[in-house]
Symmetry: C2
Subunit: 300 residues, 2 copies
Amino acid sequence: MSAPVTTGFDFAAYLAGARQRIEDALDAALLPERPESLREAMRYSLLAGGKRLRPVLCLASCELAGGDPDLAVPTAVALEMIHTMSLIHDDLPAMDNDDLRRGRPTSHKVFGEANAILAGDALLTRAFEMVALRSPGVPADRLLQVVGELSLAAGAPGLVGGQVVDLASEGQAVDLDTLEYIHIHKTGALLRASVLSGAMIGGADDTLLEALRVYAHGIGLAFQIIDDILDVTASSEVLGKTAGKDLTADKTTYPKLLGLDESRRRAEGLISGAAAALDPWRDRAGPLLALAAYITARDR
Amino acid sequence: MSAPVTTGFDFAAYLAGARQRIEDALDAALLPERPESLREAMRYSLLAGGKRLRPVLCLASCELAGGDPDLAVPTAVALEMIHTMSLIHDDLPAMDNDDLRRGRPTSHKVFGEANAILAGDALLTRAFEMVALRSPGVPADRLLQVVGELSLAAGAPGLVGGQVVDLASEGQAVDLDTLEYIHIHKTGALLRASVLSGAMIGGADDTLLEALRVYAHGIGLAFQIIDDILDVTASSEVLGKTAGKDLTADKTTYPKLLGLDESRRRAEGLISGAAAALDPWRDRAGPLLALAAYITARDR
């Protein structure tokens, strides 16, 4: 598809800049961690690269809301911590039993199951600490709003709920409703929190938050559809994880339910809808619009 | 030892009343949970009885600070959720591999490892939701302070850090410093958070918070020494968990390092110190003083 973005700004430079800022902040966030073995396990997974899509969305939406994106950096770090925690726990032998993540052995392969579980717990908890105790210059009521949004996204109404239904659906015929339930909870909730939390820190009003909910829902579901498509079409080498695993595990995916073409059309429709929701803020929405396009265009 | 409390109030009635209030709130906190299987696993562990010491401490210290204890109920629930989560994860096969907890099969024995891990994750996250989104009537800055305190107690600087060192020390000769490190983190941190968070909601000033830190440190360490003593002296039937396990697992305990008598003396000294710290607030400290005495007098 052609990119729906016509803003003149340099997205590649924007993305590189935001990512660098985030890598630095991630690195600094775990420096004083003790005991050492725990710090090592937390850093191993948190600093393993990745697209940093959630933190970038957070900074971008803070800017859209008129806020200083620097004030959103601790929350951006918190989002990546929650994301990383969910990957560590999902990879465990008792769950998806994955050996490879981001091209490297998974946490429990390197540090053992107990330390992997605990590193995940520590990252999840540290995420809330980042917002509550390490976010200078942001009013308490905004930070509390962010804590609430993160708690919904990470817990039973989000990541955990999605993972429970995902595990329960393994080896079963799953309909489109259940598939969307899984994705809206497992992927969508944290992407929504990424977009909303940045805007909350930036002081967004309810109208903007509502528009951003529509945007986040669109990119969240599109993101997962693309993920499903990539799993069918890309190789392990490009993805850095075991490709085709969904098919071998007899897992229901969008391509399986709708076919590749219809899946692509649906993802593009969702991205267009997401972009349309931001129309009233078009002047300042360049980064978020480019990120939406980036999600559909990515090859990993 | 004789109880150091000379206040005239009826502690048994106070404790029963506070516990009932907490049981009701715990029951209500998970009612809308989905998916059902997750809710069931969360409720199984959260509503399994127990002393509810942390929530009671929270309500009592809110009252001491001059606050309405009703306002602290959601935080009291959050504390019990974090405590329960740590028990679920500690019991996992990859950690302490316990089959019995509070007289019932542990979570992973009933729901499987994956669901036990996820129920713990969901309880931890829900704890922060209780404070951020389900604590009406409390100013945002106080709630944010509570979120910060809970995050420190639950994460690497608290529960998780203690458990990591505890696991790493298994089968090794451990000195008193390491033993105290483990206890201060594994047990002490959340007891401290229980005492401080209630006071924060009640609007405590820095002088009171500092005194409560001393109180909490004393009862926290005493609590663990008593736990070690009980493990030597009490039967499985009374404890509701596998007694003598610390000895069989060749685990370092206070009685092993110091002997039973010196361990008891040390616990009593800590409790006296805790009580002394509250001297300036003696008029209103009845419940907290009685709770300190209760900790040393308990038989399970």
